[in-house]
Every structure is written in C-alpha cells, then in structure tokens.
Symmetry: C2
Subunit: 374 residues, 2 copies
Amino acid sequence: MPRKLSPNSPKIRYAVVGLGHIAQVAVLPAFAHAENSELGALVSDDPEKLEKLGRKYKVKARYSYDQYEECLSSGSVDAVYIALPNHLHREYSERAARAGVHVLCEKPMAVTEEDCLSMIRVAEENQVKLMVAYRLHFEEANLKAIELVQGGRLGDPRLFDSVFTMTVKKGDIRLNPRELGGGTLYDIGVYCINAVRNLYGAEPMEVMAFSANCGDERFEQCEETTSAILRFPGRERLASFTCSFGAADVSSYRVVGSKGELVMDPAYEYAGELKQRVTIDGRTRERTFPKRDQFAPELIGFSECILTGASPEPSGWEGLADVRVIRALYRSADSGQPVTLEPFVKADRPSLDQELRRPKVKEPELVNTEAPSE
Amino acid sequence: MPRKLSPNSPKIRYAVVGLGHIAQVAVLPAFAHAENSELGALVSDDPEKLEKLGRKYKVKARYSYDQYEECLSSGSVDAVYIALPNHLHREYSERAARAGVHVLCEKPMAVTEEDCLSMIRVAEENQVKLMVAYRLHFEEANLKAIELVQGGRLGDPRLFDSVFTMTVKKGDIRLNPRELGGGTLYDIGVYCINAVRNLYGAEPMEVMAFSANCGDERFEQCEETTSAILRFPGRERLASFTCSFGAADVSSYRVVGSKGELVMDPAYEYAGELKQRVTIDGRTRERTFPKRDQFAPELIGFSECILTGASPEPSGWEGLADVRVIRALYRSADSGQPVTLEPFVKADRPSLDQELRRPKVKEPELVNTEAPSE
C-alpha cells in the first residue's frame, strides 16, 4: 500500500554525493517520483557532470568533494544520498552526520563491521537518521516473496539457492581490491545474503565459501566468482548462492519448502521487470511485476522518517547484518575453513507495509560514466 | 540417432535382481522397447512379487536371493540388471561376473571407491562387460545440453548450479545409514555430480559440503540436506548444488557461460517431460522434451556392447568418478574441512552418438512396493 503524506509536508532536501552510473540512471531521476523529497545539491569532482547534471535537474548548488563540508553546512541540505565507492561510505556518511545531516547510504553499507558500527554510533550521537539503500525492501515482488515464505505457503522453508552474475567491464570500480570494497560479495553477493536473511527471517550461524578466478586481467585485484553455503539455526536449514563478475546476466533465486517452491527470475533487477513462479502442491502460478522506479520509494521512505521522527528501516543494523556475512565468507574463502558467526538479532524484517510503487524512469543520457557490465 | 541392430541378432537375456520400485516402474517395462534384450529371470525374496511379476511379464525363471548362484549358472541368463539397495551392488555384481554373467548396475555404482575398483577388476578378470545405469547418458535433452556447453555456445562455461529435492517417505531405503549407501548424495546428489562433470568435461579437484537436518524422525540415520561446492581445474571454475530429502520436488540445473545461460528444469526426471531454456546474447529459446522410456536405451546400449564386443559406456570408471566425489563431499561435511581430490582422468564423455529414443512406458500396478517420495 502506497503511503500518503500530507500535501502540506515540507520536502526533505538531498545532496547526492557521487555522480557515477547508479546516481545518474537511478537516484537523480527518482526525485521526480519522490513527492516528499527534493534534489538540493550535487557533489562530484567532475565539473562536466556537475554542469550538465546540474543544468538537467535544475540544481544550482554544486560542490566538489573538497567543498563537501561547505555543502553540509550550507543550510540548504537536510540529507545526503551516498552513492560513492564502497570504501568512502563511512567517511562521507559520518561527516554528514556530524554536520547534522541525515544519511541515506548505498549498499553495501561499508567495507568492514567496524565501519558499520562506527556509522551507526556517529549517526546516533548526532541524532540524525541513517538508512541503507536496499531498494528491494520497498519492492512489491520481493516483499510478496517474503510474505509468501514467512506466511508458510511453501510449508517449512528448507532451502534457498541463488545465482547472480554479470560480465563486468575491465576497469570498473567493482573490480577494486577488497579493502576498497571491490569483489563479487560486496556488490552482488549482498543481494543474495539480504534476500535469504529476510526470506528465512533468520541470521546465519556458520558459512563457507570458495572463490575462483579464470585468470583474466580484469580479475587481477579481486575474485571472479564466489560460491557460498550458509547454515541457519533453529530447524536447521542451508542456503547457497553463487555470484560472478565473469558470466552472462543471471539474477535468480529459489526457495524450496516442504510443500512447494518459489522462483524469482529475474530477482534482483532494477532495470527491468521481475518474475515470480510459485509451485504449491504441484500447481504453478506465474506472475510478472513491471519495471518500476525502485529508488523513489527509498527516498520517500527515508524522508518520511525524517519528517515524522520514525526509525528508518532498512537501518544501519540491517546493513551491518549483511557486511558481517560478507566478511565471514571472505575469511572462509581465504582460509579454506568454515567460519562461525556470533549470534546476531534483527527483529525488524521487511514486510508489505513498506511497499511503495512508482512508475519506471526513462533511461537518461550518461555523462562521463558507463554501465558497469556488458 | 537410434542405432539399428541386425534383425537376426540374438537377444541378450537378463535377470533383473531386486524387484523394488525402480525395477517395477522402469526396468521391467523397458524390455518391451529393448529389441535386442529379453527379460529372462526375476530375482527377489518376495514370493508375491515373483509370482505376480513373473506372470505379468511371462517369466518362468524366478529365484530367491539364496538361489542367485543357481540363476547365474542356469545358462539362461547372459546379463543381470542390479536394482538392489546400494550396499549390495558390489556383492551381486561380482558374483554375476564370477559366473561369467555381464553386469548392468544401477547408480550409484557402489558405496565406496574400493567397492567400485573391485567391481571393475572382477569384471575384467572374468571378461564380462560392466555398465553403470546412468539413464541420462542416452537421453536427448541432457545430451543436447552437453553438446551445447561443450560446443561453446554459452561461451566459456563459468558456473553450474543445481537443486534436486524430494520429500522422501519415512522408512524408505534412501534414508538408510551412509554405510548402506543411504543419504542424499548417493541417491540424488549423484545426478548433480554426474551432470556437471560431463557438462564441464572435467573432474573436480577440491570440494566442500555442509549437511543439515531438520530433526524429523525420518532423518535419524542420514542427513536431510547437503549443499556442495566443487572446484574444477584449468580455467578455474566452480559448481554448486543442493540436494534434499525434506523439500518439495525440484529437479533443476543451470550452466552460465560468458555468453549465455542454459537452464534444465526439470532436469533429472524419468517420470515426466524435461524442459530446456537457453539464453544467448539476451535471446531465449525454450524447448520441451517429451517423457520417454529412459531405461530401454540402457538395455539396448549394454546388450549391443555384449553382442559386438564394444566397451560399455557409462563404464565402471564413470561410476567410480562420481562415487569418489560423493565420498569426498561426505568427508568434508563430516570434518568441516574442504577436501582435495586426487587427479582423475575420464576421456570418454557422453555425446549425442549415444542417444536412443523409445516411447514412454505405462505406469504399472505396483506389487508390495511404493514410490519413495510423496
């Protein structure tokens, strides 16, 4: 159910920090559909991006990274949307928080658990809201999948399996070394981890991963492929996924329960429709969900929290819940040993209450950036 | 291409040893479609099965297990089809071989590598043929999949992922302890392992598995679910699969290459149609393969080898190639450690040359047996 805001509500004014591909194709266009949010400033080191995108979106407040403090203290920005490389999430989030500016940060939240915890603490200390931009937490197909599984329609959910792959171009930021947040798990594995955690409504207790590399020069600084197995507590169950930067586009997951099966394929896309196939007691039902703007709902949801004082969800804890699994999987892939995770509690789970629908955006012309994959 | 035998060829006379579910629904009916093969004897300890099935299939030579030697030395049996519980494969195969009777043995070939090697040696010493009953090595959809992947249509194959699940009933033989060949890997994991070995045309070098158990009394003696990751050499690539006895029916695999994706879903069935979906450069083609008799082709192929002196394929080495991976995966699941495999060479791979098409069989009335799963 789309939530309604009072037409008299003020709008939350955002600075979009980082004007790479995702900012240009998804974040900037989303403001047109986010009725309680306003694009107030642009931050980038590329004068051409600032000039062209500033003109296109009628944003006069344009800043370089050196002028970030100036932007934050200008008084014309209530929140930032952090669309920077992963290793800069923490610094730019905390600087905003310290300036009293609310933070909506792209996933993965940060590179390490320490980064995530620090971001949560600094936001709390400065009494600003912090949200991690999991677009699928507002998206109908995925929320319906969670409802279906959690509602017991498949019986007892016994396994999850997912494949998320793309052919990343040489030189793309996703191929950065791991300490900069490069690698398959930070960029796409995070979707698989987030999906199964919320479909199961549980946190993994033990994980194992193998990484592989075909040896292409593209993959000099990070792995090409990682396959992972996660063990969940309670009525013990497993989950597995494989993510790769070296294979054709696949974005799919399946949950198999004692009574039936749910397949999402495509499952994780923002640039196309999503498809759901549910088989229960041998009867199959298929449904296609149209391409929608998955970023405006994040802006609307976060702005609403700022306006009403509510706690944003997906919170920093949700971001941390995934980062700690990513890090455990890399420890496992590096050491060749399974890794046990400390117990972790996350009571709030995404539900259909969070659903928001906005029409798809038109693909904009790109300024000094390109799609990450072929 | 179906192979033609001379109409004057004699027929190979089989004793079917073990009259459980698979023998009744698939092996016995297949003789009607196996023009070079003849059902010559039945071996079981259940007098009602011997009587009713003997009458139905007009087989007068009926033996208890105590009379197995009598059956083998009767002079009216050229070959046995071993459809016994997994832990009896070795003994009954070797006894046949020692009596000069050829052996067609159900998969998995046996419980241990030692069993497999002994079966191969005893068959050689006694100059009888030995084949392992991998029905999909004669089946169009799966052979086309191998041809497609091996022919480079998907580009470089970068990953394999499979899910094979069913809800096994309490008391079924599949739930036996592992030393009797019970457990998910022996019964259904073997399909995933065999599929990826032949799709990649390679043998895994390192494997890792997690097993899980929901705690149902059904799973007191073996695991409910196993998830596995396999690492293959060369242009390093991974494969993963999950098999479970505690989840609704799924039988699916996917190969993702640098240029496209192949999905088989269902992939491993003999009791229904198989479906293939191929997406290359963004264009998708779907094809359904009708339900066929997958057992007559095994009989025809094996009888042909006996008649012509050719070497049967899938051979004992093919059976061993899977059993050694199963055992390595269980060692890994038990120890929590990855397991390295010795190099192993298997030059002969299934190809469309082996394809044989026969019409589907009618589901027969069952005698003192039932389907293993719900």
